[in-house]
Symmetry: C2
Subunit: 135 residues, 2 copies
Protein backbone atom coordinates (compact mmCIF):
# COMPACT_ATOMS: atom_id res chain seq x y z
CA UNK A 1 0.00 0.00 0.00
CA UNK A 2 2.94 2.29 0.60
CA UNK A 3 4.04 3.96 -2.58
CA UNK A 4 7.67 4.97 -2.95
CA UNK A 5 7.51 6.79 -6.28
CA UNK A 6 9.86 9.71 -6.60
CA UNK A 7 8.70 13.20 -5.87
CA UNK A 8 9.40 16.38 -7.71
CA UNK A 9 9.55 19.47 -5.58
CA UNK A 10 7.65 22.60 -6.59
CA UNK A 11 9.88 24.76 -4.38
CA UNK A 12 13.66 25.01 -4.12
CA UNK A 13 15.64 25.05 -0.89
CA UNK A 14 16.97 28.48 -1.89
CA UNK A 15 13.42 29.88 -1.65
CA UNK A 16 13.20 28.99 2.04
CA UNK A 17 14.03 31.46 4.80
CA UNK A 18 16.39 29.64 7.16
CA UNK A 19 16.69 30.13 10.90
CA UNK A 20 19.96 31.22 12.52
CA UNK A 21 21.21 27.60 12.37
CA UNK A 22 20.66 27.37 8.60
CA UNK A 23 17.69 25.03 9.05
CA UNK A 24 13.91 25.07 8.88
CA UNK A 25 11.57 23.63 11.52
CA UNK A 26 9.22 20.92 10.27
CA UNK A 27 5.87 20.24 11.94
CA UNK A 28 5.02 16.58 11.43
CA UNK A 29 1.38 15.60 11.31
CA UNK A 30 -0.43 12.29 10.81
CA UNK A 31 -2.12 12.66 7.42
CA UNK A 32 -5.20 10.74 8.49
CA UNK A 33 -6.00 11.95 11.99
CA UNK A 34 -4.21 15.34 11.82
CA UNK A 35 -2.51 14.51 15.12
CA UNK A 36 0.72 16.51 15.52
CA UNK A 37 3.47 13.95 16.07
CA UNK A 38 6.69 15.95 16.50
CA UNK A 39 8.75 18.94 15.46
CA UNK A 40 12.14 18.37 13.81
CA UNK A 41 14.60 20.30 11.66
CA UNK A 42 15.86 20.01 8.10
CA UNK A 43 18.95 21.37 6.44
CA UNK A 44 19.32 21.24 2.66
CA UNK A 45 20.77 17.73 2.67
CA UNK A 46 17.85 16.44 4.75
CA UNK A 47 15.34 18.19 2.48
CA UNK A 48 16.85 16.71 -0.69
CA UNK A 49 17.00 13.24 0.86
CA UNK A 50 13.34 13.50 1.88
CA UNK A 51 12.29 14.46 -1.64
CA UNK A 52 14.50 11.75 -3.15
CA UNK A 53 13.36 8.89 -0.91
CA UNK A 54 9.84 9.89 0.15
CA UNK A 55 10.86 9.17 3.75
CA UNK A 56 11.09 12.01 6.25
CA UNK A 57 14.74 12.82 6.85
CA UNK A 58 15.94 15.44 9.33
CA UNK A 59 19.15 16.93 10.63
CA UNK A 60 19.74 15.69 14.16
CA UNK A 61 20.93 18.69 16.14
CA UNK A 62 22.01 16.49 19.07
CA UNK A 63 23.95 13.91 17.04
CA UNK A 64 24.89 16.42 14.34
CA UNK A 65 24.08 14.02 11.54
CA UNK A 66 21.54 13.22 8.85
CA UNK A 67 18.66 11.31 10.39
CA UNK A 68 16.21 9.28 8.34
CA UNK A 69 13.46 8.71 10.85
CA UNK A 70 12.86 4.98 11.29
CA UNK A 71 16.18 3.78 9.91
CA UNK A 72 17.03 2.08 13.20
CA UNK A 73 13.55 1.73 14.76
CA UNK A 74 11.59 0.83 11.64
CA UNK A 75 9.24 3.71 12.47
CA UNK A 76 9.48 5.39 9.08
CA UNK A 77 7.41 8.41 8.14
CA UNK A 78 6.28 8.23 4.52
CA UNK A 79 5.68 11.62 2.95
CA UNK A 80 2.12 12.43 1.90
CA UNK A 81 2.63 16.16 1.45
CA UNK A 82 5.05 18.94 2.31
CA UNK A 83 3.63 22.45 2.62
CA UNK A 84 5.46 25.71 3.38
CA UNK A 85 3.95 28.54 5.36
CA UNK A 86 3.31 32.12 4.20
CA UNK A 87 6.78 33.27 5.37
CA UNK A 88 8.66 30.37 3.75
CA UNK A 89 10.31 29.64 7.08
CA UNK A 90 8.37 26.62 8.38
CA UNK A 91 7.31 23.34 6.78
CA UNK A 92 4.28 21.20 7.53
CA UNK A 93 4.74 17.54 6.65
CA UNK A 94 1.77 15.22 6.44
CA UNK A 95 3.00 11.68 6.84
CA UNK A 96 2.00 8.08 7.11
CA UNK A 97 3.62 7.16 10.42
CA UNK A 98 4.71 3.55 10.82
CA UNK A 99 4.59 2.52 14.49
CA UNK A 100 5.14 5.50 16.78
CA UNK A 101 6.81 8.88 16.36
CA UNK A 102 8.24 9.29 19.86
CA UNK A 103 11.32 7.54 21.27
CA UNK A 104 9.32 7.02 24.51
CA UNK A 105 7.01 4.64 22.65
CA UNK A 106 4.13 7.09 22.55
CA UNK A 107 2.47 7.85 19.24
CA UNK A 108 3.14 11.60 19.54
CA UNK A 109 6.00 13.46 21.22
CA UNK A 110 3.47 15.90 22.73
CA UNK A 111 2.15 14.48 26.01
CA UNK A 112 3.32 16.72 28.86
CA UNK A 113 0.43 18.90 29.96
CA UNK A 114 1.22 22.52 30.77
CA UNK A 115 -2.33 23.84 30.97
CA UNK A 116 -5.68 22.52 29.88
CA UNK A 117 -9.08 24.11 29.79
CA UNK A 118 -11.91 21.64 29.93
CA UNK A 119 -14.07 21.79 26.88
CA UNK A 120 -16.98 19.68 25.87
CA UNK A 121 -16.12 16.96 23.42
CA UNK A 122 -19.55 17.21 21.90
CA UNK A 123 -18.14 18.27 18.59
CA UNK A 124 -19.10 15.52 16.12
CA UNK A 125 -15.58 15.34 14.69
CA UNK A 126 -14.17 14.22 18.04
CA UNK A 127 -16.94 11.69 18.54
CA UNK A 128 -16.25 10.40 15.07
CA UNK A 129 -12.53 10.15 15.77
CA UNK A 130 -13.35 7.88 18.69
CA UNK A 131 -15.50 5.71 16.48
CA UNK A 132 -12.79 5.75 13.85
CA UNK A 133 -10.23 4.68 16.42
CA UNK A 134 -12.32 1.57 17.09
CA UNK A 135 -12.84 0.69 13.40
Amino acid sequence: DINVDLFESEMKWSEFKLNSDGMIPVVVQDYKTNEVLMLAYMNEEAFLKTIETGKMTYWSRSRNELWTKGLTSGHFQYVKSLIMDCDNDTMLAKVSQIGVACHTGKRSCFFQKVVEREYKETNPLKVFEKVYGVI
Copy 2:
Protein backbone atom coordinates in the same frame (compact mmCIF):
# COMPACT_ATOMS: atom_id res chain seq x y z
CA ASP B 1 -19.07 30.80 25.10
CA ILE B 2 -15.45 31.86 25.42
CA ASN B 3 -14.19 31.38 28.92
CA VAL B 4 -11.40 33.62 30.17
CA ASP B 5 -10.76 32.05 33.58
CA LEU B 6 -7.17 32.15 34.71
CA PHE B 7 -4.92 29.20 34.13
CA GLU B 8 -2.40 27.69 36.43
CA SER B 9 0.61 26.19 34.72
CA GLU B 10 1.80 22.70 35.64
CA MET B 11 5.26 23.42 34.22
CA LYS B 12 7.65 26.29 34.80
CA TRP B 13 9.49 28.20 32.10
CA SER B 14 12.77 27.12 33.72
CA GLU B 15 11.92 23.49 32.87
CA PHE B 16 11.89 24.23 29.16
CA LYS B 17 14.90 23.72 26.92
CA LEU B 18 15.32 26.94 24.95
CA ASN B 19 16.69 27.30 21.45
CA SER B 20 19.74 29.41 20.68
CA ASP B 21 17.55 32.56 20.70
CA GLY B 22 16.24 31.83 24.22
CA MET B 23 12.80 30.91 22.88
CA ILE B 24 10.65 27.87 22.24
CA PRO B 25 8.76 27.16 19.02
CA VAL B 26 4.99 26.77 19.43
CA VAL B 27 2.92 24.70 17.01
CA VAL B 28 -0.59 26.15 16.92
CA GLN B 29 -3.46 23.83 16.15
CA ASP B 30 -7.23 24.32 15.89
CA TYR B 31 -8.62 22.39 18.85
CA LYS B 32 -11.67 21.20 16.93
CA THR B 33 -10.41 20.22 13.50
CA ASN B 34 -6.74 19.59 14.41
CA GLU B 35 -5.71 21.80 11.49
CA VAL B 36 -2.21 23.21 12.02
CA LEU B 37 -2.56 27.00 11.80
CA MET B 38 0.94 28.39 12.29
CA LEU B 39 4.27 28.15 14.08
CA ALA B 40 5.39 31.00 16.35
CA TYR B 41 7.85 31.57 19.18
CA MET B 42 7.58 32.36 22.87
CA ASN B 43 10.04 33.82 25.31
CA GLU B 44 9.34 33.77 29.04
CA GLU B 45 7.35 37.04 28.95
CA ALA B 46 5.13 35.72 26.17
CA PHE B 47 4.61 32.43 28.01
CA LEU B 48 3.60 34.17 31.25
CA LYS B 49 1.27 36.52 29.40
CA THR B 50 -0.38 33.57 27.63
CA ILE B 51 -0.98 31.77 30.94
CA GLU B 52 -2.20 34.97 32.59
CA THR B 53 -4.64 36.02 29.85
CA GLY B 54 -5.63 32.74 28.17
CA LYS B 55 -4.82 34.38 24.83
CA MET B 56 -1.90 33.16 22.76
CA THR B 57 0.95 35.64 23.05
CA TYR B 58 4.24 35.28 21.20
CA TRP B 59 7.52 37.08 20.79
CA SER B 60 7.63 38.68 17.36
CA ARG B 61 11.12 38.05 16.02
CA SER B 62 10.62 40.55 13.18
CA ARG B 63 9.23 43.41 15.27
CA ASN B 64 11.18 42.35 18.37
CA GLU B 65 8.21 42.84 20.66
CA LEU B 66 5.55 41.02 22.64
CA TRP B 67 2.74 40.02 20.30
CA THR B 68 -0.72 39.07 21.55
CA LYS B 69 -2.18 37.51 18.45
CA GLY B 70 -5.40 39.30 17.49
CA LEU B 71 -4.78 42.51 19.41
CA THR B 72 -4.94 44.57 16.20
CA SER B 73 -6.84 42.15 13.90
CA GLY B 74 -9.35 40.80 16.41
CA HIS B 75 -8.20 37.32 15.42
CA PHE B 76 -7.46 36.12 18.93
CA GLN B 77 -6.44 32.58 19.74
CA TYR B 78 -8.01 31.39 22.98
CA VAL B 79 -5.98 28.71 24.75
CA LYS B 80 -7.59 25.29 25.08
CA SER B 81 -4.42 23.42 26.04
CA LEU B 82 -0.65 23.77 26.03
CA ILE B 83 1.40 20.59 25.82
CA MET B 84 5.19 20.18 25.84
CA ASP B 85 7.00 17.50 23.90
CA CYS B 86 9.24 14.74 25.28
CA ASP B 87 12.36 16.93 25.02
CA ASN B 88 10.77 20.00 26.69
CA ASP B 89 11.86 22.09 23.73
CA THR B 90 8.63 22.50 21.72
CA MET B 91 5.09 23.42 22.68
CA LEU B 92 1.83 22.38 21.06
CA ALA B 93 -1.02 24.84 21.60
CA LYS B 94 -4.61 23.83 20.92
CA VAL B 95 -6.64 26.97 20.41
CA SER B 96 -10.01 28.36 19.53
CA GLN B 97 -9.11 30.56 16.56
CA ILE B 98 -11.25 33.62 16.03
CA GLY B 99 -11.36 34.53 12.32
CA VAL B 100 -8.18 33.43 10.55
CA ALA B 101 -4.63 32.71 11.69
CA CYS B 102 -2.74 33.99 8.64
CA HIS B 103 -2.10 37.62 7.74
CA THR B 104 -2.93 36.71 4.12
CA GLY B 105 -6.54 36.08 5.15
CA LYS B 106 -6.25 32.32 4.89
CA ARG B 107 -7.31 30.19 7.83
CA SER B 108 -3.88 28.51 8.11
CA CYS B 109 -0.41 29.86 7.28
CA PHE B 110 0.42 26.58 5.55
CA PHE B 111 -0.74 26.72 1.94
CA GLN B 112 2.30 26.63 -0.34
CA LYS B 113 2.63 23.16 -1.80
CA VAL B 114 6.14 21.71 -2.02
CA VAL B 115 5.22 18.12 -2.83
CA GLU B 116 2.04 16.12 -2.63
CA ARG B 117 1.36 12.47 -3.10
CA GLU B 118 -2.17 11.71 -4.14
CA TYR B 119 -3.93 9.58 -1.66
CA LYS B 120 -7.48 8.42 -1.60
CA GLU B 121 -9.70 10.49 0.62
CA THR B 122 -11.80 7.46 1.39
CA ASN B 123 -10.86 7.66 5.03
CA PRO B 124 -14.14 8.28 6.89
CA LEU B 125 -12.61 11.06 8.99
CA LYS B 126 -11.98 13.19 5.90
CA VAL B 127 -15.44 12.54 4.54
CA PHE B 128 -16.84 13.50 7.90
CA GLU B 129 -14.77 16.70 7.99
CA LYS B 130 -16.41 17.69 4.72
CA VAL B 131 -19.84 17.04 6.16
CA TYR B 132 -18.84 18.88 9.30
CA GLY B 133 -17.72 21.85 7.24
CA VAL B 134 -21.22 22.09 5.79
CA ILE B 135 -23.01 21.76 9.14
